[in-house]
């Protein structure tokens, strides 16, 4: 029996699409159900997290994590893998580092320290939980990207139809075995 296969089409392109928009790589491969599942779960978590943090918890700043660990945006390492939804933060952080003004109306630009302080005092734990939600959304998308590139870890062979034990073609009356007469 031949093992079932998943048509991954162009795995590299599928992985890139899966990074850009969670689920898009699977849509490209024709795995629509999985694409919907990944999109709903990952983008759902990301959106809920962003709502909790009022859209101010995804940002990036270029600092050395060894010399300035308090300013280092650790959560963004996970958030980055949500793809295009979090990419503006990297662009804004890079522009800020080189002394340029934020673009796109300042979307996902680093908020000022006053804004962050006010957010933390007003929302308390929600800021942290929202950051965790968005970070885990990105980390989960790594699994989705890998699935788009490599396929699922286990490809189940279809279970064979239950085979009945071979019964001898003997009428109900039975034929006496040799020597039993």
């Amino acid at each position: 029996m031949s093992e079932p296969t998943v048509n991954l089409r162009n795995p590299s392109l599928a992985a890139l699409l899966a990074w850009a928009v969670p689920g898009l790589g699977h849509f490209y491969q024709g795995r629509t159900g999985k694409g919907i599942l990944y999109a709903v779960c990952i983008l759902g978590l990301y959106t809920i997290g962003m709502v909790m943090g009022e859209g101010k918890i995804v940002y990036w700043r270029w600092v050395n994590p060894l010399s300035n660990p308090e300013k280092f945006c650790l959560y963004y390492l996970g958030q980055f893998f949500v793809g295009l939804a979090s990419l503006p933060a990297l662009i804004q952080g890079t522009l800020h580092y080189f002394g340029f003004q934020p673009i796109l109306g300042g979307i996902l630009a680093e908020p000022s320290q006053n804004v962050l302080n006010a957010l933390n005092s007003r929302l308390n734990k929600l800021v942290e939980i929202g950051s965790i939600y968005t970070c885990i959304a990105g980390l989960l998308n790594i699994l989705a990207i890998y699935d788009a590139y490599e396929g699922p870890a286990y490809l189940e062979v279809e279970e064979p139809v239950a085979e009945r034990p071979v019964e001898p073609a003997v009428p109900s009356g039975g034929i006496p075995a040799e020597g039993s007469a």
Partner: protein, 63 residues
């Protein structure tokens, strides 16, 4: 928006459900196995979280 400490615990449920669904989907291609695996994984994670919370609560009440 503010939530009481008890309400905050409810926020773990969507997180656990999403984690178990995505993890299971990355392991299997058959929907039957995805649902089954994610359900079991969800129960495991919730069980461990509830157990750990109970242990910490007991320790806290003894201190």
């Amino acid at each position: 928006m503010t939530l009481s400490p008890v309400q905050i615990y409810w926020l773990t449920i969507p997180l656990v459900v999403a984690i178990s669904l995505v993890y299971s989907a990355s392991r299997h291609e058959s929907w039957r196995r995805i649902w089954g695996h994610s359900f079991r994984l969800c129960l495991w994670i919730m069980g461990i979280l509830i157990g750990a919370t109970a242990v910490l609560l007991v320790i806290n009440t003894q201190v």
